[in-house]
Symmetry: D2
Subunit: 330 residues, 4 copies
């Protein structure tokens, strides 16, 4: 299904070149504040414009279609639209025969039997992440509203771009090479209650990774020590419990044991692949000629999509936490 | 919830020291063969006994409680039990004050308010993976029964143990150090149809990782080039389409684009943390004394749980594929 | 949750006095025709205007926000909006202290802690049934597209209004009494495949009644002989199988045995309570004065909401059948 | 799916002539008491033996396979088995060509392509209702444990048997006619909190009827005034609110308005069709001869299955209430 969550359920919809993209949220408790201004900061963080990001500009003011009254959630299904103000009607019909490398063009065509909206990636467009960010804002509000302890903080940081921890340097590499680059982003959540998640199929790692891989371009995730654990001894990896509140001496588990949050910081990292639309010439099959031919991307694009991922990563993490807290707390 | 799948739905249950562990499967098509002998090979592969694994022995003959008639699935809910023949009744009550490092003891106690079955890890025990393996056998049968193309093959391989690609060497390291080690396991699936998965929340990566993190001790997953993508340029990472059947020149995407399988081999790797029960002395909080005290594991355990993971990894992968094929094919 | 269906999943949203009501549909197969004109007939049937119905007029032209391209479903989530053109901004704030008898005012206030949109019934408004009707149109198209046998026909008929089988007479009773009346509506589906539904929890009766009670004002449902079965002998009620295609001599089962469709016409009847907004003076508690006081409905309303139910009943029935056919057929 | 509930999820399994029938429950809170003795009363109420019921006797002592430790729920998935001690191995193979009128034999054969367990009705057997009764006992315990107000009481009463309110008289009718009879059963729940249920698709009526139609032989349900509402005026049917706690003067709504419980008694009635296995000769198609032939039921059966329904009806009602309370309360 194209939705996520059990008690806080998010469905996103829309296409790159449609009139709107949007989100339908089921399970937002009544009374949560829903002023458009509350969404501005996170939506701004997602916006392009910085070095290495695409210049496509959208106003991205949330339009509340349902579930909001007097700037508060009513408890009924919540629908938010974002206008697509900047859709240039390109000559997409011609490009159909040439699936862009790294993009969903080929699989979309196959999966939807040729009925897909192929303009600008259609439903597969990164444009839909604005709807995810909006859902994240709502989720953060819910977390704050139902949390009984210290304020739960969700923070994402870029660790690496193009293999460099100096982000500017990584971007410059892409500019110099006239190519695109990827990166690694870390998310940390503190003050999370103990006990979120289930022993097997709905382990905290299961639910988080499920949500995280809905972000386009993410190709890997690791919790705590992650892949480095493969080279550690058990005595090194195990975190010694040192406090009755769950605090451990180290945090190689990334805050999750047996699928359940253990009271330490939740820590995980994701890898974001290089932007598929690279300025460099590539190759792909032209289905009309039947030949593998050179391919060049038209227009300007993000050199590094990872730059825009942090706020989206926080959003899906918040969605997970809100849902697990609603399920667990009672 | 403690179940997985939409049309092929698997629920596992049981405890380490209960009479049985088992699995309830909803959505197994009528007519699928269900002879106990069909389960023997995969169950054997999961069994302990080899170097580096625990000597606990179970017969593990599947007992069909429902949904099977004349050695065929009836289409009604399928229940399979496995007898726990080898449960030694240890002095678990005393050990409760001392949560084992790396285990779920502490979180289980908190999450279930002290009512958890604490004997041998209770419901969190790796013992339940025999139920997952059984579900995997059923899933493989379904895949074969509904597949219309070449035989879909699901194969897991251990890539590294204790940081060594020579597995024996990695194990020897653990033995020499009197410690436990982790490892990296790869799963490959060939002949998968194009079009499994959804664009965002139920991307193929989302569903697979959801299932994979239900395996105890898994702490990371990466698809195709995975974390290495963070150091690649876009022109390197993009896979050039070279054939109308979806074949690409390289497979850095690991067989998934835009969340959808693209006709190439599905390839992903997971990291398995070192076995939590290590022979080495560790530390943990004694809740009775209130002190952090030295802790030693009693009895014998797997030195490297990763050794037993391949068949379990294949099982959850088969569960995902069976479910996605049932959903997608129609 | 505020959605229905497993593979064909419908979520409706909106409020009586919001800008739009709408529907989000997940699982509509790609290629299904989606011209606005295709919706006209059913939407017209739902419209007020006839004798006994409210004069509120809406244009009700579906606006496709997502999932449609070149008048065909793309396979991505489908969103349809309907503009609320006729929302008079009444003095609703004042009326809050006086919950209307038979309406959801009181429960909405309690359930949503006073944050409900109380204008014109808010989210509880019958206005949202236009979104259900739209989902029904989509469902009928899917049924036609995946059906392999004779055309499946879904038809609702009003059997009784105000206790009279002569509908005009029943309405006249309401007009004469200056009161509202209810009715009984029957739904019949022919050419349904054998085998839809599950033995227990998702019996065909379970799923159908689940959907049917989402229609406001429905207070009962019966299949085949229904409540009359309580006075029959088994030898009378049992339907003798007379043909290998499943045809039975009688159809007291209403086309369902053991929870599964049996190849005969699906037949069920529902009761629609009298319109809650009756012209007659009633009583209710004024929460400001604390007194039970006389209450009179302002404005004009449907005298008999049952008149508008048939097309909505067909819609939810089509939703069920589309979903069950997608699940069962494979 | 063959399961019910969102947070309190019940799956039943088994066949009439298998070794066991059983239930798997996901979402039972840790600490709920689980002594076998707690189940005795309700299981006893379901048992045959009374006038008009079948003499098949089962001990029906619950065997806790998982999720119970020291006679308390652990919070892990709960599995309960009931031994089928009384399965006579009849000559079922021969009877396959002759589907019993009123039973699921024909649809089971079609739906499951001939792989169904046909012995004694297989999975469709009323025998599985013992598993539902067990789930109901658990549900009642949960309701009591999470309820904050007066004790919620769930009580079913037989209103009519064979068209007679004097139940003995109705049964005698069946005995005299050598036929089977049906009946009407009412369920009442008091002290239910206000606010359970959702406005449309998951209205309280939707969820209750969904659960209720999982009981074999139920063919209709009505809430409050039910079908009688079709003959009432709005001013008669509307219940005047007379107290701030939600109490209304009358209860024609049966305790539900706008799909939401309103603080009055929940009241609904169901019709149970006459037992399909009637002593009277009937007709059915013999698939071997291709002829419609006389058919006689072998062995002894319930003359009136409605007699055993009350405790099952309470069970499914308790399942619904437990689930809705877990969802709503927070």
């Amino acid at each position: 299904m194209n939705s996520f969550g059990r008690l806080f359920r998010v469905s996103i919809f829309g296409e790159s070149h449609g009139d709107f993209v949007g989100v339908n949220i089921d399970g937002c408790p009544a009374g949560i504040g829903m002023a458009a201004a509350d969404f501005a900061e996170d939506i701004e963080r997602r916006k392009p414009g910085a070095k290495g990001t695409t210049p496509r500009k959208e106003d991205d003011i949330p339009q509340f279609i349902s579930g909001v009254f007097n700037e508060k959630a009513t408890g009924a299904p919540l629908t938010i639209l974002f206008k697509n103000s900047n859709t240039r009607s390109g000559d997409y019909e011609k490009q159909r025969a040439v699936p862009r490398p790294g993009h969903a063009d080929f699989v979309a065509h196959k999966k939807f039997n040729g009925f897909e909206d192929y303009r600008g990636g259609g439903h597969f467009s990164g444009r839909l992440t604005v709807a995810i960010v909006a859902a994240g804002v709502v989720a953060k509000k819910i977390i704050e509203s139902i949390s009984t302890g210290n304020k739960i903080g969700i923070h994402s940081t870029i660790l690496e771009i193009g293999g460099e921890t100096d982000i500017e340097k990584g971007l410059q590499k892409a500019i110099d090479e006239k190519d695109s680059v990827g990166g690694i982003v870390e998310c940390r959540v503190n003050n999370l209650p103990i006990g979120l998640g289930e022993p097997f199929f709905d382990s905290a790692e299961s639910i988080i990774s499920h949500a995280v891989f809905s972000i386009p371009a993410v190709k890997g995730i690791e919790f705590g020590a992650g892949f480095a654990a493969a080279k550690m001894f058990g005595s090194q990896h195990n975190d010694a419990l040192i406090n009755a509140d769950g605090t451990t001496k180290t945090n190689n588990a990334g805050g999750i044991l047996g699928g359940i949050t253990n009271g330490n910081d939740l820590v995980f990292r994701i890898v974001v692949k290089p932007t598929s639309s690279t300025p460099k010439e590539q190759q792909t099959l032209n289905s009309e000629t039947g030949n593998v031919e050179p391919f060049s991307v038209k227009g300007r694009h993000d050199l590094c999509i990872a730059l825009r991922v942090p706020v989206i990563l926080e959003a899906v993490t918040a969605m997970v936490i809100a849902d697990l807290m609603l399920i667990t707390k009672k």
